[in-house]
Amino acid sequence: MSSIPHEHAAGDEHEHGHEHAHYPGGMLRWIMTTNHKDIGTMYLWFSFTMFMVGGVMALTIRAELFQPGLQLVHPEFFNQMTSLHGLIMVFGAIMPAAVGFANWMIPLMIGAPDMAFARMNNWSFWLLPPAGIMLLTSLFVPGGATSAGWTLYPPLTIQNGMGMDLAIFAVHIMGASSIMGSINIITTLLNLRAPGMTLMKMPLFCWTWLITAYLLIAVMPVLAGAVTMLLTDRHFGTSFFNAAGGGDPVLFQHIFWFFGHPEVYIIILPAFGIISEILPVYSRKPLFGYASMVYAVAGIAILSFIVWAHHMFTVGMPTAGLLFYMYATMLIAVPTGVKVFNWLATMWRGSITFETPMLFALGFLFLFTMGGFTGLVLAIMPVDIQLHDTYYVVAHFHYVMVAGSLFAFFAGVYHWIPKWTGTMYDERLGKIHFWLSLVFFNVAFFPQHFLGLAGMPRRIPDYATQFADWNMVSSIGAFGFGFSQLLLLYVVIKCIRHDGVKAPAKPWEGATTLEWTVPSPAPYHTFETPPVVK
């Protein structure tokens, strides 16, 4: 997404040391690059590509569900679509997008010349495309792709064909990439901050990524271990999860959700960080309650490790266990509430303007809070037993993942694209993109609450006629939302081609962080001489 100049950057070089840009031309630049901006750009493009691929799968699902009865695809293929859609969106789209933002912005925000392990950074990225290709090609092997859902529950995963093995290897590779990326981010944040920038002076985006990276290091190996056990159950005669050999399929659920619930916060915490950067800028006020925001993020991360079994209320647990997980889950609302109220207090009596990043941030605030509330509903164990595996759950997590993470990432793209490309985005198109996304998102997912409350189960290609109307509405919304995203692509390409107003170093009046002190577009090398933070 960058259009980094080949020559010296113009402007205030004296502040940022020598800005020599030495790199090979053409494709080699991207294959061999160790520059955090190049790698961030590649992460963001990879993420957008996978977002489109996963989006096509989502539209296949919604086209099938447009009317009751089997319409377009075979039920087995429908299951493969739901499974791959989940895996691709979580591991291929949302997580790499967050890492892309981290690569681009963390060194700029803390005044570091690059990431601590620049070569490992390159490797972390280049592991992803083979993993993505492996997931996609699994559609073409005998038996097709995995159809066990993104949660990969046995015994289905033990019975699936070769596509399951490819999915397991893809998860391994993406996990290795995430772990290396996290080690890089933590070491960068702990060792390469500009003189004077204590941890409690770091921008909140850096804080959220510091904590997210710790979460990743703790839980990605757990997922890797779980899928390795699946692999050995499938091919090497072990019985970790195979009940026929004395194994326990429920153990997989425990292990998976020990990874899976922190994973939700791995996805949402960087989004919190982006929102915490954007709201103060367009409100022209400092972030309200910085320290409490940091502690709230840490609190959310810690609590995320002790609530995993709320995903498994229906598998059978002692009442004490059910109550513990119910109350612990509800406890997460406290630090999350701290954050939401701090964001509101940040805007209170601010000089607010409504540029596209702010609109997406406000959309995030409203819709994520709704997703949080339905999460609280699902945390109530007796209610969850009714709603488990219904469309209510699907609606809930799409409000968190799409309106939460994705809206925050859209906000981040619009906020920082002047810095990345040196060109202001088209404000009118940006606002149209926001309103189309907001309306179609709600048309797609709000009716799914009604479907779930009425008892429509998830992951099925056919349904009773009583669910027909809301499914039709939901499918129309999904297609509208999907096609609206082409507008984002157009806006970004316009910026890359410099079709717009030239961006100044600091295009946003209220911006205060270090990235706005370098010229736009950001020179290839920045902060070789570290700035001093007072």
Partner: protein
């Protein structure tokens, strides 16, 4: 006069970076092995709680010791 050396190439900083990375990589390996171990510990919930508790302690220590730097 020579340009000042980039901070990430300073030997002391490199050593510190390596130390941090080794600690983090070790944690990842311990967690990977811990999952297999949890299969052989009688109570799964207990095993996972032990791991969760150690993460809690790790977060407090890992971040807390840097707070004033």
């Amino acid at each position: 006069m020579d340009a000042p050396q980039r901070r990430d190439r300073d030997p002391a900083t490199r050593a510190s970076i390596r130390r941090t990375a080794i600690v983090l990589a070790t944690i990842a390996v311990v967690f990977f092995c811990g999952v297999f171990a949890s299969r052989y510990i009688g109570d799964t919930s207990l095993a996972m709680t032990v791991i969760g508790g150690s993460v809690f302690a790790f977060l407090l220590f890992g971040i807390g010791r840097h707070l004033r730097r």
